[in-house]
Symmetry: C2
Subunit: 248 residues, 2 copies
């Protein structure tokens, strides 16, 4: 009996930002393979499943990814409902393609279920639209981080981020200096508003804000939770709104 692998987005962190479909699949799951960042409240929905934490350790991604693919295929050959649970949306910076290919090569059906990516939870937390008439009609999601956690030598990510009116940068806080340099070198104004959000939607959510020029200093104010950065005039109002909130 070959099962089905459900590649499911766990959303940004808060358990009630899962989709109804994701919650149902977790309840039905026989086995769940999850990333390190998926929290206990979300995993508690998988009441009858055997859980595997397959979160990657730093600097060992390529070895681990092969092991994850092998484990995924192995459990899917023995169990009916296998959920592969990834933070955010599985198809945005989720390194899903290797696992999709592994299932395809093994003849295992795979069904993907979208999730709320951190960038959208960030916009909601800030109370701003990523797009706005006359302000932004393009939003780019990029990461400057390579598979091994270093900054990419290929600077295509910077070209794409500089060309967009709103740039949402994933896994970039450790490379904040490089991000600032690269964007300013491509003509982005040093005064462009930026907001950094750590652990968005979780109780420990932490937001700092300023201008592109301040990005490295702002990044140093964050802890070690997952962080996202938004750069663009679209977040200018977030700064004002947060200032009001902080003053209240």
């Amino acid at each position: 009996m070959t099962g089905t692998v459900y590649l499911v987005g766990a959303g940004p962190g808060a358990v009630d930002l899962l989709t109804l479909r994701a919650a149902r699949l977790l309840a039905e799951a026989d086995v769940v393979l999850h990333d390190a960042l998926v929290g206990p409240e979300v995993l508690a929905l998988a009441a009858k499943a055997k859980l595997y934490n397959v979160g990657k350790r730093a600097n060992r991604p390529s070895v681990d990814q092969r092991l994850i693919c092998k484990l995924l295929v192995r459990v899917a050959l023995r169990h009916k409902v296998v959920v592969r649970l990834k933070g955010g949306d599985p198809n945005l910076f989720g390194r899903a393609s290797e696992e999709i290919a592994a299932c395809r090569d093994a003849g295992i059906p795979l069904v993907s279920v979208p999730g709320i990516s951190a960038g959208f939870a960030a916009a909601s937390a800030l109370g701003v639209s990523l797009t706005a008439r006359g302000v932004s009609r393009s939003v780019t999601f990029v990461t400057p981080s390579s598979a091994r956690g270093r900054v990419e030598r290929d600077m295509h990510w910077a070209d794409a981020a500089a060309a967009a009116e709103t740039a949402v940068i994933y896994m970039g806080a450790l490379h904040a200096e490089r991000v600032t340099e690269a964007l300013i070198a491509r003509g982005v104004a040093a005064s462009r508003p930026v907001v950094l959000l750590e652990s968005v939607s979780a109780d420990s959510e932490h937001i700092v804000r300023g201008s592109l020029n301040d990005l490295p200093d702002l990044a140093r104010q964050l802890g070690d939770g997952p962080a996202i950065m938004i750069i663009g005039e679209a977040v200018a109002e977030a700064r004002a709104a947060l200032t009001e909130r902080d003053a209240a």
Copy 2:
């Protein structure tokens, strides 16, 4: 008594792609103001709410938007839980900023709840990652459509789409010829893979695929449901997978 406005993403169409939070808020809602594209199954979750369809009619956006803002403020001054329900995510091409500003100006608290945007539902439907090591580390969401449904004279959207490895184009099917011309003029290969999805995640989902060069022909194969286009090598595998599916 002033209520709270919840600016809620309804997701791409399928009712179980709502978040748990969105479903709970709909169940609690006293009033729901929804767009024309939100389906009856989703609205059925708002069991006790008075429903207002505030979907815009073509070519009358600016008048209608002012009326929507007025209505939103009026109901929030009289009801406790007011849900403003928008297709997809409210903060991506949802024209949310006017409504956020109207609530702020009237002193009405507004809480935003993210939703699954069509681009993510599309990636899941195709079974592909929008990003992949060595293929794409940037995803850009753009629309070539102005507030009045015409093509924007400002071509910034085309610059941003051409700079990204994966471009996800909203409300672009009617302007397919212009999109193709603009991207090819900016150096995008005419052979770059494209996929068009109409009514993604709904029973009437319809997918066509080809190359950038074919985009205008492909767009003519669609009906009048909402359509999204994805352009980039990231969807090359979707073409192969769909071909296998169609052959089966």
